[in-house]
Symmetry: C2
Subunit: 510 residues, 2 copies
Amino acid sequence: MTPNDAELAVPPPLRAKRLRLHTQHQAVVIMRADCHVCRSEGLASRSQVLVSSNGREMQATLFQIEGDDLLAIDQIALTETAWKILSLDEDAAVTVTHAPTLESLASVRRRIHGNRLDARAIGSIVKDVAARRYTDVHLAAFLTASAALPLDEQETVDLTGAMVEVGERLRWDSPIVVDKHCIGGLPGNRTTPIVVAIVAAHGLVIPKTSSRAITSPAGTADAMETLAPVDLDIATLRRVVDAEGGCIAWGGAMHLSPADDIFVRIERELDVDTEGQLIASVLSKKIAAGSTHVVIDIPVGPTAKVRSEATARHLADRISAVASRFGLSATCILTDGSQPVGRGIGPALEALDVLAVLRGAPDSPDDLRRRSATLAGAALEIGGKVASGEGTTAALATLADGRAWKKFQAICEAQGGMRTPPKAPHVHPLIAPRAGRIVHINNRKLSRLAKLAGAPEAKSAGVYMHVTLGQEIDKGNIMLDIYAESSGELAYALEYARRSPDIIEVEISS
Amino acid sequence: MTPNDAELAVPPPLRAKRLRLHTQHQAVVIMRADCHVCRSEGLASRSQVLVSSNGREMQATLFQIEGDDLLAIDQIALTETAWKILSLDEDAAVTVTHAPTLESLASVRRRIHGNRLDARAIGSIVKDVAARRYTDVHLAAFLTASAALPLDEQETVDLTGAMVEVGERLRWDSPIVVDKHCIGGLPGNRTTPIVVAIVAAHGLVIPKTSSRAITSPAGTADAMETLAPVDLDIATLRRVVDAEGGCIAWGGAMHLSPADDIFVRIERELDVDTEGQLIASVLSKKIAAGSTHVVIDIPVGPTAKVRSEATARHLADRISAVASRFGLSATCILTDGSQPVGRGIGPALEALDVLAVLRGAPDSPDDLRRRSATLAGAALEIGGKVASGEGTTAALATLADGRAWKKFQAICEAQGGMRTPPKAPHVHPLIAPRAGRIVHINNRKLSRLAKLAGAPEAKSAGVYMHVTLGQEIDKGNIMLDIYAESSGELAYALEYARRSPDIIEVEISS
């Protein structure tokens, strides 16, 4: 005896309620524990569910709620990620079922047990990750497995390709498209706007998109935004590049490597660096951005991301090898990662350093100028504009004679108009506790200090350095200034500085 | 110049709001994105925060909300886990700061990179896990690392010891305390109540605590609860054991291995079995329960947890080795895991099987009777009550002459009174699609079917088997009955059965 149609209960739809709750990449839905769908589908808190509405669907984590304070029995609350992806309106009809089994998890398990994965397996994992079907547990398991048994070159190539596959791609009308990347971990290292200005001034195409800060006090997009609009749509971006040869825009809306955005958050929470993941992260974005030649800055130092020169060279070799498999030419430059570059740490403060270098101001930070010239010079060489070995000289000249500054102003105008970076109303110095020499500068703690002061949300907030490594100072000298937009944030930063005496270490000179 | 005290802003307390939101072990708090604490502490969604109230503190994941629908700007909503652990009242003052850095994560990272951990490192990890400081990402990373590089014997011993350390411990006045465990994955395998009755009838002390179902259609505690109260506090449990020598109670309130409760949920989500974790999970509970001699049932079969006899023997050896390091004597019995044991799957249906075996009913499931006798017999032997090799015979006799039934009734009375298991109002058969032989029974799918029918929440719901592996049947014969408390749940189970033809496979006899 088969049940009639009335008994084959398709769960009646629920009514969507917007909660305005932010849970980052993880989509969460909330339903009443006594909701009929929970009973019929056998759902419990932390179940993975498939949420469908109006032809769209996505996976989410379910949390159950008791009582009727928040929801009527036929309502479902969705967090912002879910609300936007499903393009919901209030009271929209939503269907919820068990999420289908994730077949690709079998591949994750295989890798956990020591088996290397082929392109098909990696591709299916990355597809599921980009579609937000992986929970934090699944993501962490995959990333941990990739660290415990490090990805080999073929797996890194396959991962890079899979990450490109699931994102958007930009294409340009030029045979040479230059790009730049910094491996990171160095506050204030805002070379990109200067590099783009120099490179574009020489007629190379450099359509640079950058990210906002995730855990640092400023991303390139944050600093640039204090100088010009960065939130460009693709049509505007193309117009700017057509007119000026280059741009410095925010890449977040381009979705060039959506799986990477998800991986990166988990990697930060784990604080585990897996070389294969790092390479795939960097290169997938560059390939998706349509670049042909990329310069990669690898700062090396005890509190930078890469701790030794040997590690850096090994990384550089691997990056070049994987890049060449995609027809991408990658040049890695090892730079000094033992202290911040420039003086400002924070969006507006870094922008001021950039302006000073471009304008050739007499007190502009020389280290920022030289590093930008080194990286721009490498770009000029691999872009075929100058002979090998002459890049840095040519870049310095482009700064000195004002061509870079002129090009930068033109780019800002094309992006929507040049702005003056804001100035913070509250400032407080950190002074040297004793006379001596600066023997150590802790980049991580400087970043934390700048963030407590309010960066990057408070654009004028951050830290302005007055000393460099190796410098001799007297007791009472100002080592740095803390800038904040509110007295409360200033107080938090000062409290942190008070209990962290080793942000800048001063050793008594013998 | 140092800031004055007024500037050293300790964040003003927030007011607690109960949400009645269930997020399982993960504590979640919700705060307004524009709340002053979020700004001053630099908190973002998914930040880990330390939540303090009235002398208690715990770690939680923060989600931020916009607008004032749910919360006033100085309110903080907490999910049930957090609410209970902090013993909050509505409007209680709550302080929120950044969670401190987890030092033990450095050990997790060391293990990810292939280094084995010592007792101190493992201990610090387990301590943090039990204190709920580990996010899903951290938990998954540790468990994955323990699978990628399997825990060796010393690490397994250290993990077991650490898990015992963070929980409660029970102590008994007897030199011999018997325990039993089933590795699992086999529906209906409800031997525990029968084993306890037999063993206690012989005068051995067997204070059995069991769990409720986590992902199965019934745990021992669920089935037993349809026969007698199981929710005993420790004082009552001791009284029962003093009076009758044994009990069959719910162990959930005893907190014998709190880290294990957390690990288990992540392991299920990953579906990765790590032998070391399994051993530590089983033995930590037994040691904490104060047991001296434990019988472990290891069902072996293609859809059970342990798939081959070789794997089972290896596991058995490792269990015994680790157990002996704690002065615990563990005897592993390999049993058939190719099909369910007994006929009922679901709390009340399994209880009926138990009653039938204890009463010696003529149609009682013979496989359940024999398996219970085997396990009880092993317990009688290691408990020194019968000679080696005579255990099963003695156990069968104890069933046949009614001593076990008498003891079971006494235990139920001591626990609060014997009950009659409920009977479900809706029942529907699954019939054989063709004549032939039963060649495969999928335990996992049977469990899912029983759960869709409502087990274990609906105590009388589940599945009742009418066939066994190898049996010859005719087309139209009833293979099993589905029991449900509501027509909706019955419909869901039938829909699942309709689209899953391979729950029970019938092969045409040649």
